[in-house]
Amino acid sequence: MNGTIQAPTIEYALLSPMLIVFGAAIIGVLIEAFAPRYLRKSIHMPLTLLALLGAFATTILGGVNGLPTSASAMGAVAVDGPALFVWGIILILAFVSVLLINDDEQFVAQAAAVPGSSDEEEAVRSGYAQTEVYPLLLFAVGGMLLFSSANDLLAMFVGLEVMSLPLYLLCGLARRRRLLSQEASVKYFLLGAFSSAFFLYGMALVYGYTGTVSLKGIGDALGVVSGQETLLLIGTAMLGVGLLFKIGAAPFQAWKPDVYQGAPTAVTALMASTVLVAAFGAVLRVFWVALGGLEWNWQPVMWGIAILTMIVGAILAITQTDIKRMLAYSSVAHAGFLLTGVIATGAAAQNAKALSAILFYLAAYGFTTVGAFAVVTMVRDAGGEAGHLSRWAGLGKRSPFLAGVFAFFLLAFAGIPLTSGFFGKYAVFAAAVSGGAVPLVVVGVVSSAIAAFFYVRVIVLMFFNDPAADGPSIAVPTVGTSAVVALAAAATVVLGVFPQPVLDLADQAASALFIR
């Protein structure tokens, strides 16, 4: 026992995406501290974009250099195929969302200023901008990267928090309807903290059962340790609660509609797309790698949750009157569809199939979502964005193109062939069927038939109804926004017509499954 501690080995090359993002985030903080206000935005913007691009590039590089066979950073992070794929999606979607965020209409001038107070007017007049959003966003993204690739529960917990905390704040920074925004932020924060406490306690119990928090360790331990099954099961349940909360599976979906509606739409876009991706990365790791041996215990429960999630999402969305709220419920339903893939485990080949299906679905869904919310940001009236569906009536006549694109996104959500959504659904359901979960798939298609109703309803509103007299105007989109819409639409088309390349990519990523 000599006092020498050998330094941990860190695979900087592999981890560089994370490091870049975090580094950029910290620099961003420093900018907030030192750069003059009028310069900040013009520095933040390129910095953030560059950071994300760089991270993406290094992610690709990591993929090209061949995947490591063992976890990195002393087994804390597993930079494996799925991780890289998920990172890739997250980074692109984040990049896209940043283009949305770069819009003064989105964020409050000064969060500290009380709504309607004199100092808010002051802040608005002096053209302040809450430029902290950029570093916050970078932190959140970094958190996602860690969350989705963590190879032990501690790292995962840290990632979870690093991802969530900035988002709590971002939710509260809407420029219009600040009360709603702040309320969303509070709700998200309290419930998020509450759920992460569950995650933590579950982690503690699992640790108590296995004596380790590394996923690999847990997985191995399940085989050998015996007795105190209860401890393990409760632990599993609570871990599950923490994670399912993040993906908004029923009955933990309550926060989603409120938060999605209240938050600035750009942030909603970010959350709706990237958080789901990251969370599913984590879910898969925990339930397949760590708790794979417990399959027979958690699968039945997961069945129930998946079914409930699909149904609740579909049914509740039908009567929504706010477009963002409706999309929130739709994302609940989609989380349910994805869960069918999580359940479809079996032999290695089957797992790979399911995994790649989920990865493809995430990519497809993420793009469409960002696009849809981008369109939402453009439909405005006096009070800011025209959220209420009735205001969308006859949009198809006022601006056919925008309405057409939005309709296209909706059809993709509904899973109509020749859109990305269709192949996403198909892949997941196919995996589920070959995984023997046919009843689940039947529920899936039934609920997506129900879901189709409210997507179609919006189309009816936009195209078949006559415009409201004082209907909303279409904001002249910023370059960023229009770029986002274009990109999302392109992705939805391409993935809907030639999904093969992305499917291959997902297959490669999934072929080796998760490294332990």
Partner: protein
């Protein structure tokens, strides 16, 4: 004998959880969450003792740090909404529903 500690942590967690459900003041609700986190800490330390490895204790430190960060963010948010609404009651904030 570590069982007692575990029971205690479970109790603390339960108290925290119940607190979140029944208290109105956002600050207090938040405190209850902190209480739940600390219950977890206790559990970690206990299990660390049980297994005779340091992971649990180490995790406890991490949790404290995270909790601290959470406090920072949480208070910021709560203060923000308190200033607009002149109330810290979580029940007042229910414009978003159905």
């Amino acid at each position: 004998m570590t069982t007692h500690y575990l029971v205690l942590s479970a109790l603390l967690f339960a108290i925290g959880a119940v607190g979140v459900l029944i208290r109105r003041n956002a600050i207090v609700v938040f405190m209850c969450v902190e209480l739940m986190l600390n219950a977890c800490n206790l559990a970690f330390v206990t299990f660390a003792r049980q297994h005779g490895n340091l992971d649990g204790q180490l995790i406890a430190f991490f949790v404290m740090v995270v909790a601290a960060a959470e406090v920072v963010v949480g208070l910021a948010i709560i203060v923000m909404i308190f200033r607009t609404r002149r109330s810290a009651s979580v029940d007042d904030a229910n414009l978003l529903k159905y």
